[in-house]
């Protein structure tokens, strides 16, 4: 079933399940109405990605990836959620209450997007030694659903989490396709993410400072 070159084993299935958890947490983010729970879901998703990185490091004997796993754990599971949670706490706005569509509609759209993503990837002639191809399809689905998350949500926290989960999806894809990417490059990517997080946090604060709300409904002045 999976493409580790052999018949499916418990290990490849475990990797698949991890990738699946990444996608499922993406869906849960679509649904959740509290900012706090979205951030925690993101932390959980990043945890799955880190464990997946450790998994690849162990099975493929890539020492670099252990370091990467540690750094991404610290950054994405600890630091980023902390930054955003602190902002949410200061702002004292709990419920995002910002769906533009009903939950069932969003879930249906998300299903369509995921199936599309998995299907397109399934068509590619990709053979990976590090993770089953299903993980790549699931990461494509995560990327597409994160776009949906950004589009249908009306508050800055959800949109920022949508962007961060997009990066998670790309991380999973890179674990499948580019597990042996040189460490320097991986570190550059991570550093970049950190800078992006700082900027997002700053802009969220500035937005809240001006508009007194975390909703983006006020951001409709500029048109045409």
């Amino acid at each position: 079933m999976a493409a580790l070159g052999t018949s499916p084993t418990a290990l490849t299935d475990a990797a698949d399940v991890l990738a699946l958890l990444v996608l499922l947490s993406e869906f849960a983010m679509l649904r959740s109405s509290l900012s706090r729970s979205q951030v925690r879901l993101y932390a959980f998703q990043s945890l799955c990605v880190s464990v997946l990185a450790g998994f690849v490091a162990a099975t493929q004997h890539i020492g670099d990836l252990y370091g990467l796993m540690g750094m991404s754990f610290v950054l994405k599971v600890v630091v980023v959620p902390m930054i955003i949670l602190r902002l949410v706490k200061e702002v004292r706005v709990d419920v995002t209450d910002s769906h533009r569509l009903g939950v069932a509609t969003m879930v249906l759209l998300a299903i369509i997007l995921s199936v599309f993503g998995i299907f397109v990837v399934g068509r590619l002639p990709v053979h990976s030694k590090s993770l089953p191809i299903l993980a790549l399809g699931l990461s494509a689905a995560v990327i597409l659903v994160s776009f949906l998350l950004v589009i249908v949500r009306n508050d800055v926290v959800s949109q920022a989490i949508g962007f961060f989960s997009l990066e998670n999806g790309v991380s999973v894809a890179s674990l499948v396709l580019a597990a042996k990417l040189p460490l320097i490059v991986e570190l550059a990517f991570l550093f970049d993410l950190l800078v992006a997080v700082v900027v997002f946090g700053l802009l969220m604060r500035v937005h809240h400072g001006r508009a007194r709300t975390l909703s983006t409904r006020t951001l409709d002045r500029l048109r045409g």
Binding site: P125, G162, L166, E167, L203, R221
Partner: protein
């Protein structure tokens, strides 16, 4: 030559660091000298026929890089002249904290944009473009207006999502290469280009498509351009000039690097089609929108989208002269757009508003900036003797050589439409009689001087590009697979 690269790496960054502690006047001088020095360093690289490398291969400057480097550093220099006048005392914009943040960000932004053509490899390219995104997002919001914050949030969100897709495209290209180059390599350009002929075609196709979509978000290609008019109009004017003139071209450079690898792997047909689709959409949409703009800077922002569309269409023509035209257009557009924004800055400072309906009699009120703004608009509309005329002429000639007569006709028609839109607003603001209460006189000599610099560059490019520059353009076009 490697030393030049290292110098370009160091100088703007050092300027940024100095601005952390320097008072406003010193910061202005430092920025100005850094801009001029970096431009000079870039010019040193122009005549050289060999590829310069530094930092054990992490920095690399071939002809294509130098073209874009010249564009970026020219803008850096001209805008730093403008900034001296923009941050004049009493303008409200020269508060100590604001100006310190501004200069730090300005220099850092210019540094990141200068780095992008110089780094070697698709991975670092992505990192550099991402750095430019985050720094410029902060600069857009630095004015702390409602519009600025809204524009900055939209910008950083849309551009970052686009760059996420571009990262996916980079990973895909890495995977395509790993079949030939092994599991672990650094994505340096020479290696990629050497091995590209053996890459698996479907992967490269998908990677290129996603790269155009992702980097196209930052370049302002329709339909992922929606952040552009907001960000360019709400940012402080020097930042708008840098965004329109330099940042969009740097994103185009990223697409060109993917193009370079892709045509070696799967031939030019597919990349050209992709670029054509996006380019046409951008040109048509921008030309139509230009007719209905009410905000001066938004007007010029849409003009940027139009020119980016022209760049993409130009790349889709296969004749070498079209590619030379595209590269020349990069330089010419940088000069013209910056001049236009500088003029807009003077006008807005004079009249206190960005709305076209409320600005009357620019030529009368601003004896230097007014006419120069008109000249810049003429330049943007591809009138001779300006550089944009020459570059668009090359592009259309290339298209006719290629046999796409219909496309060239469409191109010319929509460029004319765009010019109509631009000149309508320009004449309304500039050529109408000056209202009573407005005092005649320049807002700042420095701001006017920056326009002179921009126009001078534009005229030089149009009338007689220096031979060494032409040689550079031909070498760069050859690198993109278009030999004469």
């Amino acid at each position: 030559m490697g030393a030049v690269l290292l110098a370009i790496l160091v100088v703007p960054f050092a300027a940024c660091l100095v601005c952390f502690v320097a008072p406003v006047k010193v910061a202005k001088v430092v920025t100005l000298s850094s801009g001029v020095a970096t431009f000079g360093l870039a010019l040193v690289l122009v005549p050289s026929h060999e590829v310069a490398t530094a930092a054990s291969g992490w920095l690399r400057a071939d002809a294509l890089s130098v073209v874009f480097l010249v564009a970026v550093t020219f803008l850096y220099a001209a805008t730093s002249v403008f900034t001296v006048g923009y941050m004049r005392p009493g303008s409200g914009a020269s508060e100590a904290r604001y100006s310190r943040r501004f200069f730090i960000g300005f220099n850092l932004f210019a540094w990141a944009m200068a780095m992008t053509p110089l780094v070697n490899g698709l991975a670092l390219l992505w990192v550099a473009v991402e750095v430019t995104t985050v720094v410029s997002a902060l600069l857009v919001a630095i004015g702390d207006t409602d519009g600025g914050v809204e524009a900055a949030w939209k910008y950083v969100l849309i551009a970052s999502m686009g760059l996420g897709i571009a990262l996916f495209a980079t990973v895909l290209m890495y995977y395509a290469g790993s079949s030939v180059l092994g599991g672990s390599y650094e994505l340096f350009y020479p290696k990629l280009l050497g091995a590209a002929a053996h890459f698996p075609p479907e992967i490269v196709r998908l990677s290129f498509g996603l790269a155009v979509l992702g980097f196209g978000t930052k370049m302002g290609l329709v339909p992922v351009h929606t952040w552009l008019p907001d960000a360019h109009s709400e940012a402080p004017t020097p930042v708008s000039a840098l965004l329109s003139g330099a940042l969009l071209t740097v994103s185009f450079y990223a697409i060109l690097r993917f193009y370079q690898v892709t045509i070696k792997a799967i031939g030019p047909a597919f990349p050209r089609d992709v670029l054509l689709v996006f380019g046409l959409a951008s040109l048509v949409l921008a030309a139509l929108y230009l007719a209905s703009q009410r905000d001066l800077k938004r007007l010029f922002a849409y003009s940027s989208i139009e020119h980016m569309g022209i760049l993409a269409i130009g790349m889709s023509f296969s004749a070498p002269i079209a590619v030379i035209g595209v590269l020349l257009h990069v330089l010419a557009h940088a000069a013209a757009k910056s001049t236009a924004f500088f003029g807009a800055g003077s006008v807005i400072a004079k009249f206190g508003t960005k709305e076209i309906g409320r600005i009357q009699g620019g030529v009368g009120a601003l004896p230097w900036s007014g006419p120069m703004l008109l000249l810049a608009v003429l330049g943007l509309g591809a009138m001779p003797p300006f550089g944009v005329f020459r570059s668009e002429f090359y592009i259309v000639e290339g298209g006719l050589q290629h046999g796409s007569t219909a496309l060239c006709a469409v191109l010319v028609v929509f460029v004319t439409c765009a010019f109509l839109g631009l000149s309508w607003s320009a004449s309304q603001t500039m050529l109408s009689p000056t209202p009573k209460g407005v005092v005649r006189g320049e807002v700042s000599a420095w701001m006017a001087a920056s326009m002179v610099i921009g126009l001078a560059g534009l005229v030089v490019l149009g009338v007689h590009p220096p031979a060494q520059l032409s040689g550079l353009l031909e070498r760069a076009a050859a690198e993109l697979g278009a030999r004469r």
